[in-house]
């Protein structure tokens, strides 16, 4: 269960990004972030050690359709 809170979001805004957030804004952002944080945490365990983002482009080519290429 995500531990992201409004206070955490306000702190990040202030320290990392140098601006302040209101309470309502921080609450809405927290509600948006929490499910993504939970999903990210859940799927992260399935990442294999040697993978990297650019492997996607290779896969796209490997798995591509061959019809119509003459």
């Amino acid at each position: 269960m995500s531990g992201i809170t409004s206070e955490f979001v306000k702190t990040i805004a202030s320290i990392w990004h140098r601006f302040s957030l209101g309470d309502e804004e921080a609450k809405t952002l927290t509600n948006m972030l929490a499910p993504m944080d939970d999903a990210g945490e859940e799927v992260s365990s399935s990442i294999k050690f040697d993978l990297e983002p650019s492997d996607y482009n290779r896969a796209l080519e490997e798995l591509g359709d061959e019809e119509g290429l003459g």
Binding site: H17, M32, G40, V43, S44, L51, P53, A59, E67, G68
Partner: protein, 471 residues
């Protein structure tokens, strides 16, 4: 006599090439319609009357002199106002870039121009291409040609409205999570989001480096095939663009479909459909069965996590692009747009990189489990027809994330995977608003999608129905 504005692109192109219709006459008619409908639909942000007429006359002159012209010679197009042109204002639908002049010309636009296409103007869009609704607090909301109380969909709102209202024959849009397919479906036109890397992103306003695609919205599948063939292919200016050969998509349109297999997802895509959309998708399936396409049931991998990690990665990239303005000019964003971009500021870099790293695994899983059983998936593009503006939360409040999720639930997982998807109108639901199906294929299978979409349009007439606002 402007009936020719109601013809499709390919037919009109033949008329121009044969001299039966001049590009200048066509362009004048297109401008007249754009001006007549602007107060009703607000499709355009800019209209370049003098420049486009001059270009049309130049095409006519070339034709009279027997010069060889391109496959789009004299065809008026207009594009989402986020494709840069050197020295020309490209607003990106925003206040922040309202005076931004392009420092380059987009490769897609250069290729269209080389093929003889005409540039009528910049089209309305969601601010910075964020949001599936089509509203815009800076330039005014674009309205749906079928019913002006309803949204045209976004973010390529003006592209959908201008093509549906027979103002232009085609329009480029961009699609990061559904922004071509959603307005195509809501406006009753064809739209294709190509495979990731199929079309150069050079000169396209960035929203997400990983998920941005551009592609055409048109009246027919064949028209889309022609435009995509023109803009697709490797571009040295976009190192991520694929080096694969581009098939002749129009030839692909005419190939046989009888041995093809169409997958009907047994989970996810058909959940929670409006009754009319459900009925129209059942009708669509029967039509394909009648065309001897084999229908198979397919279990698709879960999209729940895909949807969430797509959103996390998109927001991380968008907030990186926008961080300076979010800090220095926060009040110059519309509230919904600002909210959807800024939440990327609060995620760790590891979460973002995990989302991108997992993309390869999900793509392989999808191809193994889905495209080993069928050539393409048949799904609704949208679970419902276009909603009314007044029923939508466009202020970035509590219900906004849920609204975005509902409108893009069938499109954004496909953007994460980077697969090609073609949206084709398939009838009319509540209040005479269009519905559409989506064909999804393995990477670089646009030709197969065009083949299926084209044969469907050969035996149906939805794409020839014209909104009353035009008549």
């Amino acid at each position: 006599m402007t009936d020719f504005l109601n013809f499709d692109l390919c037919k009109t192109s033949e008329l121009i090439a044969s001299g039966e219709l001049s590009a200048a006459e066509l362009t004048k008619a297109s401008i007249d319609r754009a001006e007549a409908l602007q107060p009703k639909l607000n499709s355009f942000i800019s209209l370049e009357k003098d420049e486009v007429l001059e270009a049309a006359e130049s095409i006519d002159k070339g034709l009279r002199q027997g010069e060889s012209v391109g496959s789009l010679a004299g065809i008026p197009l207009a594009h989402k106002d986020m494709f840069y042109r050197l020295g020309k204002i490209t607003t990106c639908g925003s206040k922040i870039r309202s005076k931004f002049k392009g420092d380059r010309t987009s490769t897609a636009l250069s290729r269209l121009e080389k093929a003889g296409a005409l540039y009528l103007g910049g089209l309305n869009m969601s601010e910075f291409a964020v949001g599936p609704i089509g509203n815009n607090v800076h330039y005014g909301d674009c309205l749906n040609p079928w019913n002006q109380e309803h949204t045209p969909g976004g973010s390529s709102s003006g592209s959908g409205a201008a093509v549906a209202s027979r103002t232009v024959y085609g329009a480029l849009g961009s699609d990061t999570g559904g922004s071509i397919r959603i307005p195509s479906a809501m406006c009753g036109v064809v739209g294709i989001k190509p495979t990731q890397t199929r079309v150069s992103r050079f000169g396209l306003m960035p929203l997400s480096f990983s998920f941005d695609c551009s592609g055409p919205l048109t009246r027919t599948v064949r028209d889309a095939a022609r435009i995509l063939h023109t803009i697709a292919g490797h571009d040295p200016k976009d190192s991520t663009s694929s080096r694969r050969k581009v098939p002749d998509y129009e030839t692909e349109c005419d190939k046989e479909v009888a041995s093809m297999r169409l997958g009907i997802p047994s989970n996810y895509f058909y959940d929670g459909l409006e009754a009319d959309v459900d009925r129209l998708l059942r009708d669509t399936r029967k039509i394909f069965e009648g065309l001897k396409v084999e229908i198979v049931s397919v279990d698709v991998p879960s999209h729940d996590h895909i949807n969430l990690i797509w959103a996390a990665a998109l927001a991380a990239e968008a907030s990186t692009i926008h961080r300076k303005w979010l800090r220095d000019r926060p009040d110059d964003y519309g509230p919904m747009v600002k909210r959807r971009i800024e939440f990327g500021l609060y995620q760790p870099a590891t979460r973002y990189l995990e989302a991108l790293t997992l993309r390869e695994k999900y793509l392989r899983d999808y191809c193994d489990t889905v495209f080993s059983k069928c050539d393409a998936l048949l799904t609704p593009t949208m679970p419902a027809v276009a909603p009314r503006y007044k029923d939508l939360d466009v202020g970035g409040g509590e219900s906004m994330p849920e609204l975005v999720l509902m409108l893009s639930r069938n499109t954004r997982p496909i953007s994460y995977l980077g697969l090609p998807a073609l949206s084709v109108p398939c009838g009319f639901g509540a209040k005479g608003l269009p519905a559409a199906f989506q064909l999804i294929g393995r990477p670089f299978s646009e030709g197969k999608l065009f083949r299926l979409g084209n044969v469907y349009q050969k035996v149906t007439d939805w794409h020839n129905t014209i909104p009353a606002i035009v008549e």
